[in-house]
Amino acid sequence: MKTTDVVVEAPNGRRILGPISVHVAAGEWVTILGRNGAGKTTLCNALAGAVRVSSGIVECDERIGLLSQSPRRPYGLTALEYALLGSAASWRGESRSQIERAGRSLEACSLDPNQDVGTLSGGEFRKAGIARLLTLDPAVFILDEPAAGLDPHARIETLNLLDSVRGDRAVITVMHDLMTAAQFGHRYLVMDEGRIVAQGARDEVMTAEILQRAYGESMAVIDVDGEPVPIARRRSEPG
């Protein structure tokens, strides 16, 4: 999928995104970084067709699966029903093969199809979201902060799961936790004020200079066994 000079404007005409041109190849994992308000979610939504693009082109021949930043948590639906939401968008409802597919997706995510999604833990609910995308069987997964609000182990587990089930699909994720982000992604896009200000492989992007420009002066990169680990440091002098 690719975009050419995509611009998104607010109803008052203020530009909130772009112009942005990106190309995501099949099988590629692209991770989007940037401070709050940098336009990451707007870019995801533009790619998924969820916001009106003011100008430019979004080209994608294949189906897209979007998991929102804070997906709604329905109560009183089974995990199987949750996994089927969207796949059964036709008037006829879901087919037998879709139900079987949803069952396999839940199994891959180690979830009980009969459990009420209202009773899942935060981490399990993220897995249910991944099972829903998997049932949809799109060519591109777009996940807006799939690890938000999870403990460090659950964060890694969720992304490990995503990596293991994605097959040859392209993945686009927004991530705020840089230590996790550094471990998942073939290519990183760094955004600021609605535009891409840097992009490249991990070692090209995870530098103190780029991260300080994107997030602020507290950013630093330390070296652990030859791997760059981005961190934010507190001020050394109080006040």
């Binding site: 979007l66 089974t78 939401l85 968008a89 949803a102």
Partner: protein, 321 residues
């Protein structure tokens, strides 16, 4: 792992059970009333005319009104993603109230069809204005526009009433809701509107489940949530307006019945919609049977009974949720 239940569907036992409950309610309601009718020894001519021209149309109107308000309420709750939404949320009640008041006050000698006609038009018009004004700002904009328009219309209605106080009692008794009929005309007229409108909502019940996802996720599936929302609200409002025009503003059915259904069968509208229809029909017919028999030959307005029974039930549900 256990085998999964069929998704988004009612199991057959539930369906049979609720169909039986509706049938039982109808039989009991036909048997109860001011005149003592026993079916065991057959019906004479007088009894037959009481049943066919008096009780049966009233019960049919109750079934249709109860089911329609409950299904319309389920539709409103689904597309607003809020279990506290009801079919009067966008101004249908206020608009119908103003329409009826205009006739009671300004043209009291108009044909008997003027009151329901104006109530119907008022309800549709109020919601249409709310939709046009509020639509651009999403669901919250719609709700706020509905509240503002309801307040404006209610103020107009109050103004008409205080300047024409002799009519207050008549208007008030209409507003509180009652299922009085004169033969089959009312139930059949309501059916003309309700069959396509409620039929569409029932057919769309699986689409309502999509609103468990957020708007961005729906767009990514190629579904326009705003258009779907307007279609559902349009059908639910048409059904509500037709019911309100015939029976007045019956409180709480559109709010508590979908809520009670949700507690019984879970969050899927594939199940909530049919259960709401059955439960709404039973609730309104039962409430009306109580209203016309408890203090016979005097009659309570059924709206009083639904609110008296509905409000405590609703508070109970709120505290259990």
């Amino acid at each position: 792992m256990r085998a999964a239940l069929p998704p988004f569907r009612l199991n057959r036992r539930h369906g049979v059970l609720w169909a039986g409950a509706v049938a039982t309610t109808v039989v009991v309601a036909i048997g109860l009333g001011a005149a003592d009718i026993t079916f065991l020894d057959g019906l004479d001519a007088a009894e037959w005319s009481i049943v066919s021209q008096w009780r049966a149309p009233r019960i049919v109107l109750g079934l249709v009104a109860g089911a329609s308000l409950a299904v319309a309420g389920a539709g409103y709750q689904a597309v607003f993603r809020n279990p506290l939404a009801d079919p009067y949320l966008l101004g249908a009640a206020a608009g119908a109230g103003l329409g009826a008041t205009i006739i009671f006050v300004l043209a009291p000698d108009a044909t008997p069809w003027a009151v329901p006609g104006f109530a119907f038009a008022g309800a549709i018009l109020a919601v249409a204005i709310a939709a046009v004004v509020g639509q651009r700002r999403g669901t919250l904009g719609l709700i706020l526009a509905g509240i503002a328009i309801s307040a404006f219309i209610s103020a107009l209605q109050t103004f008409l009433l205080v300047t024409n106080s002799p009519r207050i009692a008549e208007v008030y008794s209409w507003l509180i809701g009652r299922l009085s009929t004169a033969g089959w005309v009312e139930p059949l007229t309501v059916l003309v509107y309700v069959v396509p409108a409620v039929g569409l909502l029932v057919a769309m019940r699986r689409r309502l489940d999509l609103f468990h996802l957020d708007d961005a996720e729906l767009h990514s599936l190629g579904i326009d949530p705003d258009r779907t929302r307007l279609l559902v609200l349009g059908a639910a409002t048409l059904a509500t307006a037709a019911v309100v025009a015939a029976v007045g503003l019956i409180a709480f059915v559109g709010l508590i019945i979908p809520h009670a259904s949700r507690r019984l069968v879970g969050g899927s509208y594939g199940r909530i919609v049919p259960i709401s229809a059955a439960m709404g029909a039973i609730f309104l017919v039962a409430a009306d049977t109580f209203a016309r028999t408890a203090f016979a030959p005097a009659e309570l307005p059924v709206g009083v009974v639904t609110a008296l029974a509905g409000a405590p039930a609703f508070i109970y549900l709120l505290n259990k949720t």
